[in-house]
Symmetry: C2
DNA sequence: AAATTATATTCGAATATACGAACAGCAGAG
DNA sequence: CTCTGCTGTTCGTATATTCGAATATAATTT
């Protein structure tokens, strides 16, 4: 977009790619693996890995495999601490989950993805597998569609230059159909999702506004077998209540627009 | 201990120090600030910062101030994903908190510090300010003392070469006194803390064992004004129950010792 | 016990990075 | 309207990093 893709610092790229490789992969790698996968000479990556271990960003298992260390985690939490109102959000979401017994979420838009910033787990034994920090294409989730409510088809197209790729067999893949659904949702005040991002999961969401703009959204997710009209009505009532509380909270705490979005 | 403190990679150190500076400081810094504080020439740090922003580890506000970006968070969560049994732990701790209405925690030992890996917030309006990823000296908290139960005075002294520094006015600062308290706690099965790490907070903890070794601990924290004999008895019963459930869980999932400790 | 296959480290030559003074652009003060 | 102080960028030279073959060390196989 506006970044100069050239003129980047090779060593920095290598260090970050190393961290990403180790963090995003369930397998653990040795120095040779890393050298091989990232095409970095072993003698070059060696002192870098030593330093990463020394600083606690990586740790080294007795059998020469690297894994992510606490310092990396510590840096990462710095990101969430920027959203220092999240504890208050959690209280509000807990009230929702405690009544309807289903997982609730708070998310913001990050590029074209929904970024989950808070999740309150359902107390029920069968529950959704999701976690804070997850990213999913916004058009495939209720939370995400709530974040797109005010966007034109052109704005949305800009977010997904490659088109709307399906996540499940029910994911919307047509821009016009998406925009029509958003228009209906905006009129009704609720956004629905039926197994569009997770099989067997239905979801209802509402947007969170600050001075007329949508800055975030909240949702409740339910396994299809626990979903019926009565539950839907309950969830919608709870979401509207939570929506009001969160919008009030944001205004009360005078959180800047800057600090709300990512 | 075993790391070669020399022979480190200067550029890597600089990048990591930059990330730490930005992550650990509530103030936001400009390129010049970073150059100044870390004693790195501006022309040197400039391409590094560009690359960090390009990769999403930092983001740049319109007024030239850097803050932590989502990629850093993403790497950090890789650390928690190594503890992939934490969701199960959360369920068990939720049961504790839902009955006694106070915050519960799960932690491991990291050096001489307690590392909080899971926290379930109290539903009560007045509650402890703490969060996952926090580190406190082990000797100053119930959770931490539970992790030290099986250590000799010499082992403990090795963890704190600078002695036991007080966190509050009630923190234990004498090794012998600490060891005596641990012995009593081991006999009784419960570890107590009375405003030793947080003013107005009392805490009870129990250790979590795997094949005879202490690998983790759990605790319940209470504001002093909500603490009485009846609550203490309730918390102790809940902790013993949760302790059994977690130890069973760890054995059932066949989680290796390696993956439990940090 | 020798051979093989892993691991990471060493070394000097080649090269990319780092340095710091000078520069450019912008915002606010006087 | 210039000056000052802030931002980040540019440039040639100096220097530290990088490269890849060779080496060391350890574990495993034959």
């Amino acid at each position: 977009m506006k970044e100069d893709n050239n003129n980047l610092h090779r060593t920095t790229l290598r260090i970050l790619e190393t961290l990403e490789l180790i963090a995003n992969n369930p397998n653990r790698f040795t120095l040779s693996d890393i050298s091989d996968k990232l095409q970095i000479p072993k003698s070059t990556i060696s002192p870098i890995l030593h330093t990463l271990v020394y600083k606690g960003f990586l740790s080294l298992t007795p059998d020469y495999h690297y894994r992510i260390g606490f310092s990396a985690y510590n840096i990462g939490t710095g990101f969430l601490h920027q959203f220092n109102y999240l504890d208050e959000i959690e209280k509000i979401l807990s009230d929702v989950t405690n009544v309807c017994l289903e997982a609730s979420h708070y998310a913001v838009l990050s590029g074209g993805d929904v970024l989950y910033l808070k999740k309150v787990n359902s107390p029920e034994p069968i529950r959704m597998v999701s976690f804070v920090g997850n990213k999913l294409p916004a058009y495939s989730t209720a939370l995400g569609k709530a974040l797109l409510l005010n966007m034109s088809v052109n704005d949305i197209k800009k977010l997904y230059p490659g088109g709307l790729k399906p996540v499940t067999e029910h994911t919307i893949t047509d821009f016009t159909e998406l925009r029509e659904q958003l228009t209906k949702a905006k009129q009704e005040g609720y956004v629905y999702e039926i197994e569009e991002s997770n099989q067997y999961i239905r979801c209802i969401a509402v947007p969170i506004h600050k001075s007329g703009k949508i800055v975030a959204s909240i949702s409740v997710a339910t396994p299809v077998f626990r979903y019926d009209d009565k539950k839907e009505a309950l969830i919608k009532a709870l979401l509207t209540d939570a929506q009001y509380k969160i919008e009030t909270l944001i205004n009360t705490l005078e959180i800047s627009y800057e600090d709300l979005i990512q």
